[in-house]
Each structure stands twice: as C-alpha cells, then as structure tokens.
C-alpha cells in the first residue's frame, strides 16, 4: 500500500490541532535549552578558550547546537508521544477506522516530527543569527539542514519506538543514546582532532556527527567533499529505517 499524501497530511493536522492548544507550554522549555548551553558554555567556558576550530568558542558551538535542537525537536514526538498514541490512547486504531492506512499514519507522524524539529531548530538558528554568530545568507543556506536532521532522528526514534515492549525503555534511548551523541558528535570539540586510526572511521557511524558537520560547513560557507558523504549518510539511513518502520507499522496496526 502506498502513502496517500492527503491522508498523511490529515494525520499531521491532528497533531497540529493538539499542538496549537499546548504550544506555549511545549515551546518555551525546548526553546531555552540550547540557549542555556550556548550562554553557559560559549560565554562561561569560552572565556578560558582562545579559539576552537579557528573561531571563538561560542561561534564553534553555535552550528552544533542548532543541529542538536533539531534532533531534540523530532525525538520527543516519535518516542514518548508516538508510543502513547499507539499503545495507550488508541489514536492509530481510531485513524484506521477511516480510509487512513498504516503507511499514512507513519508518514504523517514523521512529517509532524520534522515540523517540530524545524520549529525548534529554526527558532534557535534565528537566535544564533541575531547574535551575529552566522551571517544571514549562510543561515538561510543552513536552514534546510534542520528538517533533514529532523527526518533522520524521526526515523531513528520511530524505529526504536516500534520495537520496544515498554515505555520505560525510552530512558535508555535518551540517556544512553541521544545524550552520548550530544556530547561526542563534534558539538563541543572537534572530534576528529581527538581521534586517530580506526576510531576516525568508527566515529563516522555516529548519526548526529553528520548533521553537525553539514551545519558547520554551511556556517563557515565553505563546501567540501565531505558534504556529499554527510548528505548521503543522512538520506540513506533515514530511508532504510523508514522502509523498515513502514513494515513494522503495518504489522503492528493491522495484525
């Protein structure tokens, strides 16, 4: 069964209708989180650092934190929220009494997670641009990387959510997967400079590394051959995970 874009959009609209009611409560904490990191690390720790990666420390942090905001914006939707909708609120069961098909549900949820990711990542990108940490034109070039990051982490998150038997396991996902990614994916220090030999290749497996590097490239305004590899990684891993997720979704929702 193929995705029907209009039905997928109706799933998206369901989430949007709910979000419109609760956005103030949701938006504020998520919005301030990366700003707090930028200020504390960039200005606080940054005072002891001459330069990093050829710029001030706060300018080094900015692109990585935009990618992290995009990652976090997508992650919550496809983990706790999607899990509750599927297993407790019977949302998907009720959607499937209409012409909506499992593939539409999945597409709508992914699209919605990308939207949330774009809201948070986009807002933070604006803040960073307003602080003069990226020229406006380069911020514009960097912008599409935000939903792309959202797509990748929506795909990873939903693949995890579809397979776990209990909601408690999300604490593993956040603490033992997203948190290490956040700390070791080139956001706070240039990862490659600290690694040698085979570890350089192993590090390439880290999903967050690629959006961060893309973002850094856009901020710096210099295109390198790595961009093609980073884009290919994000696109291929997302597609692979979504293809698998579509099969599991159909099996879980139709039995």
């Amino acid at each position: 069964m193929r995705v029907s874009p209009r039905h997928a959009l109706s799933v998206w609209k369901r989430n949007f209708a709910l979000y419109r009611r609760t956005w103030k409560m949701n938006l504020l904490p998520n919005f301030f989180e990366p700003i707090l990191y930028l200020v504390s690390m960039g200005i606080g720790v940054g005072a002891y650092i001459q330069e990093m990666g050829g710029t001030s420390y706060i300018a080094f942090l900015a692109p990585g934190l935009v990618a992290v905001a995009a990652m976090n914006g997508a992650s919550f939707e496809v983990t706790y929220n999607a899990y509750v909708r599927m297993n407790f609120e019977k949302t998907y069961e009720s959607m499937l009494t209409t012409p909506i098909q499992p593939e539409d549900v999945l597409a709508g949820e992914i699209l919605w997670a990308m939207t949330r990711s774009t809201i948070y990542g986009g807002c933070f990108l604006l803040v960073v641009a307003a602080m003069g940490l990226v020229p406006p034109l380069r911020a514009l070039v960097a912008f599409p990387i935000v939903p792309l990051t959202g797509l990748l982490f929506a795909a990873i998150g939903i693949a995890f959510s579809l397979r776990i038997p209990s909601i408690d396991l999300f604490s593993f996902y956040f603490t033992l997967f997203l948190m290490p990614l956040f700390l070791f994916s080139d956001v706070f220090f240039p990862l490659q400079e600290r690694l040698t030999g085979v570890w350089l290749q192993v590090a390439e497996l880290l999903p967050l590394l690629h959006p961060v590097r893309l973002m850094r490239t856009a901020f710096a305004g210099e295109l390198g051959p790595m961009v093609a590899w980073d884009l290919a990684y994000v696109a291929l891993l997302s597609m692979l995970l979504l293809w698998a997720a579509a099969r599991v979704t159909r099996r879980r929702l139709t039995q």
């Binding site: 029907s4 209708a17 709910l18 949302t91 499937l96 009494t97 012409p99 929702l253 039995q255």
Partner: protein, 305 residues
C-alpha cells in the same frame, strides 16, 4: 448484501478466535452480534472494516473484497470502537473536525457536518469544553458522532452502550432508530439482551468464535424455547423433584435458578405450583434471548450462570 462474510476464520498465535463464520447483513437492517467477552465480536468487526486480515475466508462489504481496497470501503462506513479514542485536551468540535479531515472532507463540509451532529447527538451544551472534563455518556455520544462524520452508509457499533446509565442507553437506541429510518445499515455488538431484542432485525449469537444460531430475535426464542418462561428461585436440592413432576416441559437450570418454558404462561405457572414449587421467588415472564443463550451454552451472556 452490505456485509457478507464467507467461511471467515481468524487465528491468533495458534488460538482460533473466529471459527468459520458466515454472516450476511442486508441493506437497511440492524444486525446484532451477541456474545460474552472474548467471543470474537470485536475481531469479527475488525475483519469487516478491514484492519484485521482473516486467516482464511473472504469478507465483502458493499460488494467489494475488503482486503483489496480498504480505503474505498472505509470511505463509506463509520466505526465506533469499543473503547473511546478521543483527544482529551481538545473540545468536541475540534475532535469532530480532526475526524472530518481523516475523511478528506473540505473545511466547509466539516463545519456543516459538525453543526448537524452536535444536534443529532445532543452535544451542543458542552461543545467547546475539553473532552476530558465530560461524562462517560457524553463521550460515548461524541464517539458515535465521530463515526458519523462521513455520513456513512454502514454504521458499525462495538458495544455502544456498555457501562452507560439507562437514560443514555435509551437515547442512543432512539438515535440508532433514526439512522435506520434514513436507510442506514447498522451492525452492532452487545451483551445486553434487551438491547439486541429492541434494536436488531436479525442477530447472531457468538460463542468462542462460532455462530451458535442466527435469525430474528422473536423467531430464535420461539424455535429454541417457547413464548413464556416461569422462573423459580429455589434451593437446588428441590430441583430434582420439580424436574421429575414436569419432565415433559422444556427447562433450564443454573445455580438456584430453575426455568420452565411453555407457550401458555398461566397454565405453566399453575403446573409448577401444583408440582410443589414455593410461591415465593416464582414468576412468569416472556422468554428472552438470555434464555436462548443459556439453553445453547449453559452460561449467561454476561458471564456466569
């Protein structure tokens, strides 16, 4: 036929949940699936609207094979799930709008539909309040309204009145009556006998995934038992004597209850008295579907004898 199931079975992990079921629902009728919890009612409905695939057999709805194009079939039907699945923080109106979008209705169609359903199911008084604050009866009416958003030809109701108070049940029954008057076909499940007798033109009694009997309620009662029933509440030690005295009369027993069936109620009542039954705890009533179910399975529909 609006719904037609042929030889439909469903097996979950080696357990047969629906067993070679045949079912026909003609246009404009109200058809009831009766049976205790776990009989396979919900599973049968899910196969009919095409979210659960039969392990074997075929399901046709509106003459189409459901598994071939579930989208086009579901466009024309509405389903009220056994458990409400509402968006609790949104109002009734917003819940209805969201559902209208699932059916790809235009915003203008949605507003018109919402307006008429608020009246039809008596939802207007609390239409803009978050659903979480509202009563069980209100939420159930809203759930039914959701399933009517696309003005379906076939309405599927899974235990529409379980757990509701009598007043709400009565009002829902009259809504179902109005829908039928508009030519809709209704397929419902219930374990309330009175509900089935009142609403259904035809019904099938399900137990452990099998259809035990099907037909019109009246006809089922007459062909399996008789028009009247005399029910006794008597110590089980005295049952044998009574059964002996009335050995040619149809009877059923369960716990302290002993029931005799006959087409001439008053005569039957006399006969039981003459046989030595206590006058207390003895009463004459019309035979109902619960009796039929009891006679077929040895247990009551709501569980236990």
């Amino acid at each position: 036929m609006i719904v037609s199931c042929r030889n439909v079975s469903k097996v979950f992990d080696d357990r047969v949940v629906v067993d070679e079921l045949d079912l026909d629902v003609p246009a404009g009728q109200c058809f009831g699936l009766l049976g205790p919890n776990g009989a396979g009612k919900t599973t049968t409905l899910k196969m009919i609207y095409g979210v659960t695939r039969p392990t074997s057999g075929t399901v046709h709805v509106f003459g189409e094979d459901v598994s071939r194009d579930p989208r086009s079939v579901r466009k024309r039907l509405g389903v009220t799930l056994q458990e409400n699945a509402l968006i609790e923080v949104l109002s009734s109106v917003d819940n209805l709008r969201v559902f209208g979008r699932y059916h790809l209705l235009s915003e203008a169609e949605i507003e018109a539909r919402v307006d008429s359903l608020l009246d039809f199911l008596d939802l207007r008084s609390h239409a803009t309040l978050p659903v979480q604050a509202l009563s069980g009866g209100y939420k159930r009416r809203l759930s039914i309204a959701l399933s009517l958003m696309n003005d379906p030809e076939l309405l599927i109701l899974d235990e529409p009145t379980t757990g509701l108070d009598p007043a709400v049940r009565l009002s829902l029954w009259s809504r179902v009556g109005e829908l039928r008057a508009r030519g809709k076909t209704v397929l419902l499940t219930t374990h309330y006998m009175d509900e089935a007798e009142r609403l259904c033109d035809r019904l099938a009694i399900l137990s452990e995934g099998r259809v035990l009997v099907d037909g019109a309620p009246k006809q089922l009662i007459l062909s399996h038992l008789a028009r009247d029933a005399v029910e006794l509440d008597q110590d089980p030690s005295r049952h044998a004597a009574l059964l002996g005295a009335l050995h040619d009369v149809k009877s059923l027993r369960g716990g302290r209850r002993l029931i005799f069936y006959g087409d001439d109620g008053p005569a039957l009542l006399d006969a039981t008295r003459r046989a030595g039954a206590d006058h207390e705890g003895l009463h004459l009533r019309p035979t109902n579907l619960e009796d039929v179910f009891l006679s077929l399975t040895g247990t009551g529909l709501e569980g236990g004898a």
